[in-house]
Amino acid sequence: MTVRRTTLGGHTFEFASLADLLARATPHRSGDVLAGCAAGSAAERVAAQSVLADLPLATFLEEQVVGYDEDDVTRLILDTHDRAAFAPVASLTVGEFRDRLLAWAAAGDEPAISALAPGLTPEMVAAVSKLMRNADLVAVGRRARVVTGFRSTIGLPGRLASRLQPNHPTDDPLGVTASILDGLLHGSGDAVIGINPATDSPAQTVALLELVDAVIQRYGIPTQSCVLAHVTTTLRALERGAPVDLVFQSVAGTQAANRGFGVTLDLLAEARAGALALGRGTVGRDVMYFETGQGSALSADAHRGVDGRPVDQQTLEARAYGVARHFGPLLVNTVVGFIGPEYLYDGKQVLRAGLEDHFCGKLLGLPMGVDVCYTNHAEVDPDDTDALMLLLGAAGCSFVIAVPGSDDVMLHYQSLSFSDVLTARQVLGLRPAPEFEEWLARMDLLGPDGRVRDLPADAPTTRALLAAARP
């Protein structure tokens, strides 16, 4: 293990391992304090950032944070690394890499930034993010272009899609339908209509898939459905011939954490093949949907790397993207304030984490979205989520999650509302996914100014859509 040291403010700081260096360089957050790997002082944090800035990027190909022999995520990352794609930045330090990315971003050179993805490892991307300010994360994130498709196209410039999340505490069909229709009337649902089922069973999953599929078919909506059951449940649904558009799974950045989720790389590959075989996409064939979130490995006590030392939660989050990108997903989102204040304590930490996750995901080639959310025991409120939403819109975030009135009545947390998505689009001049936008126009839901119309309950379009609630 290489010990690295530097002097700052008259103190010498030593970093015993690469994992320690990354952790100490991370902007303050409660989860790293809980894990015992955070910097002990503000000076130590900047000292670590200084050492990190001088570290050659190629170090991450030689020295591991989580061991190659113990962890299949590390093996996946290193075995699939593309040296040709890495070549343009292979000689740079982490600090020089930051400077180069910002120069490309300022020049609007999307191809230069976007082409790097297969040559970058999660650890490299996490490292450079730790040297960036929030505005840097926005500036570079918006120039990393990732476009995916199934029935709608996600990630085009000037677009902000949304996942319509119509959860219900008992999966009541009419209750779920009510939320779907409310979302559609607000122009939400172009990324996916995605339900977290109250009960993770094949029968319930099939029932919900059929419900959403019927709505999509009835109105010819160019979007996709997803029931966010465990991948093994979706496999059972596939066996039963259910209309599966997307395969969902939560993934994390270590093999141990994925084991905690009951997931292996082989299982994900099997489910992906099953969904692909159905051939249900029209504009694309991207059939995977992943969720992640800083703190998931720590909460499963699966956050340790080389020599059993704790790895910071942001680096582990980026490693989860290393898993996700292997499967060519349509959608990936971090659930940034869901897991609780012991991981991200307040609005400042949630804001920073949301921007980091979007940046890291995009740089690694993922169609990155964010669930901008919070729980009632975190020091976060709608002013904080407004700020993150607008910054993400500016950063070119692929999609956000939206629920009726910000209140998820099944998972008991608050995310963005359908109205919030309208506000973000209006303020930032963003539009829905193109296929979905055309559908909104066909349904008379789009005004001449391109905004989603505020229709009364007895308008013909409203009545037409609400007719879906009748059997």
Binding site: V176, A178, G220, N376, P382, S406, D407, D458
Partner: protein, 247 residues
Amino acid sequence: MSVHEGQDGHSGPDPWAALRSATRARVALGRAGDALPTSRELEFRAAHAVARDAVHAPLDPVRVRAALPGLEVLEVRSAAADRAEYLQRPDLGRRLAEGTALPSAGADLGIVIADGLSPRAVHEHAAGLVTALLARLAGWSVAPLVLAHQARVALGDEIGAALGLRAVVVLVGERPGLSSADSLGVYLTWDPRPGRVDAERNCVSNVRPPHGLGYEQAASTVAALLAGARELGASGVALKDEAALPG
């Protein structure tokens, strides 16, 4: 399809009525421009404010004792110094503060009242539930009640071990939701000692009459679980699978 195809005139005056009744989700709130109308915005803020206050209002021991006249109540604190530390360091909320002395109680069973994430739930429901539970514990010797500040469920393990109990029941304020800020949870652990994991506990949640589970029903379930745990010599997954429980 034409947008007018579904218009067949028998949706009634408010086509949302049936849909609204099928979910507590905040559907069809209306709009002010692209945002929520003021009244809806204030409704949401009110729900969030009540939930926030439930998390942060401190546990009031005088109030809890007054509701349990004649019962001996010991008071302890976890190693979390204040609410901010409690929220960020769940590990500290699972350990007793340094220097805490609890004498062996010479009893089978202890009841711990823990503030958890909603002291309000303790204020409103702990006394009612304790009273209903004690009425069903013939055949058990019960230690003095323990009231625990800045406490997580697992603090009951250390308390139970110190008191020398065979079983501990922890009443804890649950994380407030937007529409339920006063929900009390109950966790039963057989042979409590530090290191027990969640799979070794049984839980009865959402005690909050009149909207959630009532005291009598919750107490009956806990008493049945206790009887099952004594027979089995264990709590948790094994007990849940084997015991026939009422309710």
